[in-house]
């Protein structure tokens, strides 16, 4: 075939691929896909997986300090779920040809990203409630959208995650309700947590639409169906009336309801802070990476011992 024929063949395949997506079909690992589709998915899915794994750190630190057994079991179950979600997602990325070893190496070498939100510290027990309510609430909006994603394995991983994560959001919301209707000391703690987590949560949805050059292509290929700004606005509209009902203040003096659009209008996000944290200079970036590396190194002898045992057992069986 000449180069021109090859180009023509690719254009035909691309057309057939985009028609499948328009029909709502799922793309599966065996199917032809444009290289750009594969690359975008590997980037998104591995970042999502790393976020679940690093996300265990800020909450894990409170397991031993939970105020009672019930709260401790709930937090343990939630953190365990996050490890499981990381596994579902690494699996989905592996179906696209990237290896687990490569992804872990990228994370530990600082080449991979994970959600900015986990680079903020959990200072009090109230943070555990607010993280469930805000951070998991925001994640559910994103993951519900991604459960309709055109790539089969990623879509199925998100269906499973969303179902389990509704427990994460509700246990956090329950804590916030209890504290907001509790003692003056509890109200003070939960208001302080809301003040610290509000803006980092809004940043979780990513840059503004005009700063997200990938979005139109991701929407065209059915990877995303809603933009960052749309999801962010939905989150604000869901949460603000509930916070008001609970007597909690949103740390945004210009927040107001806009009758025309039906939206709660919020102030501009501090994008300098957003980019600073992404580039590695957030309050806990170094601490999180150091904890991951330490866990990886501490586990090395276990991985090696199991591998050596399996090798010996299979040599004896042969």
């Amino acid at each position: 075939m000449t180069g021109e024929d090859l180009g023509h063949a690719t254009a035909e395949r691309l057309k057939a691929f985009e028609e499948r997506i328009l029909r709502g079909e799922k793309i599966e690992p065996n199917d032809w896909m444009p290289e750009g589709y594969r690359k975008q998915l590997v980037r998104m899915i591995s970042q999502h997986a790393h976020s679940e794994i690093v996300g265990m750190l800020p909450e894990g630190t409170w397991i031993t300090r939970a105020p009672n057994l019930r709260r401790k079991m709930v937090l343990l179950a939630k953190v365990q779920d996050e490890a499981g979600h990381g596994e579902y997602l690494y699996h989905a990325a592996e179906t696209l040809g990237v290896t687990r070893e490569q992804m872990i190496d990228d994370l530990l070498a600082g080449r991979a990203k994970y959600s900015n939100i986990f680079n903020y510290p959990t200072l009090t027990w109230a943070d555990i409630g607010v993280i469930g309510y805000f951070v998991d609430g925001a994640a559910i909006l994103n993951q519900t959208m991604l459960s309709r994603c055109s790539y089969g394995p990623y879509s199925r991983a998100n269906v499973r995650i969303s179902a389990e994560e509704s427990f994460h959001q509700k246990q956090g919301k329950e804590m916030v309700i209890r504290m907001a209707t509790g003692t003056p000391e509890q109200r003070k703690l939960v208001q302080d947590a809301v003040d610290r987590w509000w803006w980092p949560t809004l940043m979780m949805f990513g840059p503004r639409d005009e700063e997200s050059p990938n979005t139109p292509q991701l929407v065209r290929w059915g990877i995303k169906t809603r933009t960052n700004d749309e999801l962010r606005q939905t989150f604000v509209n869901n949460v603000v009336p509930e916070l008001h009902l609970l007597g909690l203040k949103v740390p945004d003096p210009d927040l107001h309801f806009d009758e025309d659009s039906g939206n709660w209008q919020f102030s501009e996000i501090d994008w300098d802070e957003f980019w600073r944290v992404i580039k590695g200079d957030g309050p806990c970036n170094r601490e999180r990476m150091a904890a991951r590396k330490e866990a990886h190194e501490d586990g090395r002898w276990v991985r090696e011992a199991y591998a050596a045992y399996a090798e010996k057992a299979s040599a004896e069986a042969a």
């Binding site: 599966e28 065996n30 709930v74 179950a77 596994e87 329950e174 991985r303 299979s314």
Partner: protein
């Protein structure tokens, strides 16, 4: 770069009598540990009656497109016959599910027999696995492995009364205002 161990495909049966469904993969040093990892990753909540794991390299896959381009000569096979377990992807939305078994002399021959016997309309990919390569949970494991999840009601969102708590607060405030 160090090892993350080999990759095993995981098949889960939600209830007795239902087919085993592919639910993902885990990494483990051997089959026994792969079963334990699969239990931790995929059975944190109830609805599991059995688990199978298979090393990725023991699965032979053929899609409808690959089938069209196959070499029929390769499908005869040499050596002794053995049982292969067959998984089919029935349509583009579903995961691979267990559909049955065939006896064949090679994976290629097993695929050929499987397409003949099990390919219903809409089947897009078939996998075959030598039966002796499957690591399966035992019925006796059920009590220790799968039953504990049933008692952990707090893993379900319905356990948390957030909606009724919010309604109560709203009603109380309306009363105060009135």
């Amino acid at each position: 770069m160090d090892t993350q161990w080999p990759r095993f495909f995981v098949f889960k049966q939600d209830q007795q009598g239902e087919p085993f469904l592919n639910c993902g993969t885990v990494h483990a040093a051997d089959g026994e540990l792969a079963l334990l990892n699969a239990r931790d990753v995929f059975v944190r909540r109830p609805d599991c009656a059995g688990l199978w794991v298979v090393l990725a390299e023991h699965i032979t896959s053929q899609s409808l497109d690959e089938r069209a381009k196959r070499e029929p000569a390769a499908e005869v096979g040499e050596g002794s016959e053995e049982a292969f377990v067959v998984f089919a992807k029935r349509d583009h939305r579903r995961q691979h599910e267990l559909v049955g078994e065939v006896i064949a002399k090679s994976a290629e021959a097993a695929l050929s027999a499987a397409w003949g016997q099990f390919a219903a309309t809409g089947t897009t990919v078939i996998w075959v696995v030598p039966k002796r390569r499957i690591f399966a949970s035992e019925d006796a494991d059920g009590e220790a492995w799968f039953a504990p999840a049933k008692d952990k009601a707090y893993r379900h969102s319905a356990f948390y009364r957030t909606n009724s708590l919010m309604r109560e607060i709203k009603a109380n405030q309306a009363e105060d205002d009135g």
